[in-house]
Symmetry: C5
Subunit: 291 residues, 5 copies
């Protein structure tokens, strides 16, 4: 996630440079064909362009709203992971004092989830935070975050049995594990259900078609400054398309994805400090982007 | 659900080919009548077209938002089915060790639900996962997913009585069954309540009328390239209409429906593995579409 | 609720015929005055019309979204009634075996609610499903659905006392009665709080004014085909206004209201079959409309 | 709240008359200056007006959606007050039979809330429904509805102690008091947090500026009928602004506010009848407005 | 938060003065170049401007809706803080009578939260409300509001143990602490996750580009009154951009942020009065702005 606005603009400019240059090149081809070689069949009246433009903008806005809602729902569910792991720390602080391995396992949970959502390798973090036995058990499963929750559940049940803890307290801790499972299910839902291609690929194709037609329609009125006008309009449409496609997959590893590594580290620090285990410091943004 | 974007575009092109070809044919008829036979009564000024076009796009966007919300609510409710069946597996893992038939029955539940929502035959899956007695009892009812929940409820109550399990634990399992019933009720609501025809059939009719008038209004300014301009605008409107009609029924069996078979298999694997029963592998997408 | 799309279109055409004919008649008056009697004071430039048209469409869309949300919220609350009455059936199946009158009373509850929301007479259904004593007690109250819930509550309490049922089980049943009361309160809220007239009557007035001005503004450019152009635009605006006004009152008895009788019958069948009481079959749609 | 649509339109016309007359007067000044005194510097091409108009309509719609959501959220929270006070009546009917003063106090609660939200004097209603001791205690506090809840809570606790009522039942009643406190907090939130002035005062200013410029831009094309065209457009914009400003404060005492007195009376009747205390009849709308 | 509309308009005018003056200056430069030095290469037809303008307005509205939702979600979460701290006061009133320090600590909690969200120094308020021991413990932690909750939790547990309070009562108080932690987590989420720069910096850049091009496109039709027309349009666009950027960060210290100090004081008064500790009066708005 971009946290430094100045550097963020530079990132956006870099990402948009290629399509805009291609568009500008096409504009010049059209202008030269029209102004130098007088290809007058290129003239087109303006009606369809204006109507298509308005329709496209409205469509892109509907798509962008859906993409932003996915992004924000993903963030809200990560917030639920944070809140519940913190509550696990507070409520179980009496229980966990003799079992710092459970607090460490809970600190490993968001890492396992981050690995599953972003399809990245997190075995280093899991090895660091889990006991060897837990690590073996978790790595053997396909759904590793779920396996971490199972291990925590087993540990909690052991402690409850060993120390004769009241059932109501056990119930409250179990409810937190269920809430974590629900938030995890929501995150997997966003991960496994991409925006329908009617809202992802189709708008992009329409924007490309629109940008191809754009200079043809402008050249007879704008003449030599067509590239300027066309680029200005193209910039807006390419930009509107980019807004949605940047946000629609909140767990990818571009600068626009959610800062999952930063959030995992935050949770880790809270839990390890609470259990009296030394913790590393928070992650700093890299080139204006929280990783 | 389309999971491969490249193949998905091919599917969309195939589905849209016929209406666009019909529109292009009509465009040619109009152009020839106007340019060759000089039917000048066809000339129409542009005002109503532009206004109608804008109004139609706005209307289609409102409809498409409603259709997408139905689709996403359906997916979210299937997510609740997944989460709760997974929680049933985890919380009841001590209870179910001697009763793998209950885990299998829970694995049969989403299949029964899929059969009811998509009006497809799932008796093969039910026979495979339910005991013969349960199978008979379930097939005799109209609302089969509800009947599966009843059977699971009876089995849980038996175990609770036989092993003297605490009432609070029983209550927690029962709550999961209630949550499953609520999610099922929500899915049935979407299934049984189509979008009002004011948001489904009417927009399509208006798009058709609009596409008929389109070349009439363009022909006097665009001349021989009318089919190009008209097809471009028509493509956009037919496309916008298609977005909504593809998503408004999330349980149909087109490539745009929710991947209910894939989700059922995922739930099945989780539950059977947890109960120590051998399970089949996950379903692969077919031609870019998750079934 | 219209369930047959083909017949639904016929219904919409029938309902819209009168205003469209009136509009066409007015169009002809204007054309004849202008073309035959050359009333040139009628000429108007196009600016205000196009701006007013766009503004009106946007306003209608905001209103239609609000109206659709009311309709869908009403449907969702009826879904909560269905889910909770079904849960009442399942959880209380042991309790109700000796008290089929309570299941019948629960089956009467949605009928009482339907009567209150749609202001129709449901005494026949109540007499059929309630015991004579309950029927007397319920008919004496103003808020009859609430009175049915009271009667069920009294019966449940009796059984709880008589058979020494555990307080937790009683609490669960009571929670269902509270959830039903909440859903009922939500339905009454929609019923008693119409859309503000700024969103119901005002848009209709503006559409009427707009349709009156429409031919005046078109006649000088369109000439004799004014009625065609004006009707086309008028159809769109009258249609957009109709979408919202059809959906804004989800409990009225037009073909666009929620199918409350069908839903009541579905609930009735589920509950009576569960209690071993013979039930009537489901209601079939009448002329494409679920009653 | 306006419940009679016919009279409601009359109210809207009356409220909008002054600004529309002022606008018409300004239109005439412009026309006369232009047509009679030929102040040609007034001529303005149409571009900015059309663009500003579209932008303004979109902005007003965003604002109106926010205002309507506030209004509807207020109504929903009042619905929660109604539901919970009704549940208090039902669940506590055994407890309250010997304490009708508590039912009366609950009937006084919405009046106290109405007084706090609308900043009106409700001491008459409170005196009528509360015991003298309660009345003294409540009037001494700043947050009177909260004080009424405290008094009810004390009374319930007394009864629980005196009659040895089970803790679970007490817990259920206390949960209702908490739900009432939450709904009250939501209503106070809407009351104390006006729409940001960017969504309240700014749109109105922009509409006024727009209406001032309107005739200047129309006069050269419309000539003598400028006042007609300008009033038509102005009516639409003044109307759109009015929609939002009428709804943005749901607790004010204009005809557009929520019918708090009517709702209070409804709650009062339900509770008093349930406790066997004679109650007044429901409030009738006054001139088409439910008070 | 601005509470006085009149003064609020003055604030907005002051904040917008600089960009509008710069725009007007640029307008004059363009007019003089065009009218006096006849730089005719500046002439541009109007098509792209009108299309860009509409697209930009739609985009700004999508962004403004997202920003307003952030602002309103922040306010709602602060409402949850208020409700739950009030419930803590009511439910724990028996428990806290001998422990006013806990009520004071709860009154310190929103101050600690305000300090964390707004990055301001609140040590004075914490010192005033916390006991010295608590103050030391809280100031030593990074997440101070969370540390205050821990301290309250320890105090409650002490009282529960010392006076042998029932577990259910303890559970209810603990649930309130969890709800406070959830609301706090939501507020931190809004604080730490800015709007994506696609919705914050990009719209502003596009508005600036648009305002630069504006007079170039208007000058050939508007001539000497270009600055007037351009300023009018520019005012609208700068204003629309400002609406969103004012609201997108609800916890900053501009006049548009949430009135966190006022809300903290309100909570403080309720809790201290309830615990019998003398409290300061409510905060008055300063120059029309609630701090």
């Amino acid at each position: 996630m971009i946290v430094d606005r100045r550097k963020g603009v530079a990132i956006l400019v870099r990402e948009s440079a290629l399509p805009l240059l291609l568009l500008a090149a096409w504009d010049f081809v059209v202008v030269i064909l029209f102004q130098v070689y007088h290809q007058e069949w290129m003239e087109q009246p303006t009606l369809p362009l204006s109507l298509i433009g308005s329709a496209l903008v409205l469509y892109l806005n509907v798509r962008n709203t859906a993409a932003y809602n996915r992004w924000w729902e993903g963030r809200t569910l990560w917030g639920a992971i944070t809140n519940n792991s913190r509550s696990f720390g507070r409520q179980a602080s009496t229980l966990l004092r003799e079992r710092p391995d459970l607090a460490c396992a809970m600190a490993a949970y968001p890492h396992a989830l981050r690995g599953a959502l972003g399809r990245v390798d997190v075995s280093e973090d899991l090895r660091r935070l889990l006991t060897p036995a837990m690590y073996e058990a978790v790595m053997a499963k396909t759904n590793r975050p779920n396996a971490v929750l199972y291990q925590i559940g087993y540990g909690v049940t052991e402690e409850v049995t060993r120390r004769g803890i009241d059932g109501a307290v056990h119930g409250q801790i179990d409810r937190i594990l269920s809430d974590l499972a629900n938030a995890q299910g929501g995150l997997e839902r966003i991960r496994n259900t991409p925006l329908p291609i009617q809202f992802s690929t189709v708008p992009r194709l329409l924007v490309h078609v629109f940008c191809l037609v754009l200079p043809l329609s402008m050249v007879q009125t704008l003449g030599w400054i067509t590239p300027l006008g066309s680029s200005l309009v193209g910039l807006l449409f390419v930009g509107l398309d980019k807004v949605g496609s940047d946000l629609e997959e909140p767990f990818n590893s571009t600068p626009h994805g959610l800062p999952m590594r930063t959030m995992c580290r935050t949770i880790e620090i809270d839990l390890l400090q609470g259990a009296g285990v030394p913790a590393e410091g928070p992650l700093a943004p890299v080139k204006g982007v929280a990783p």
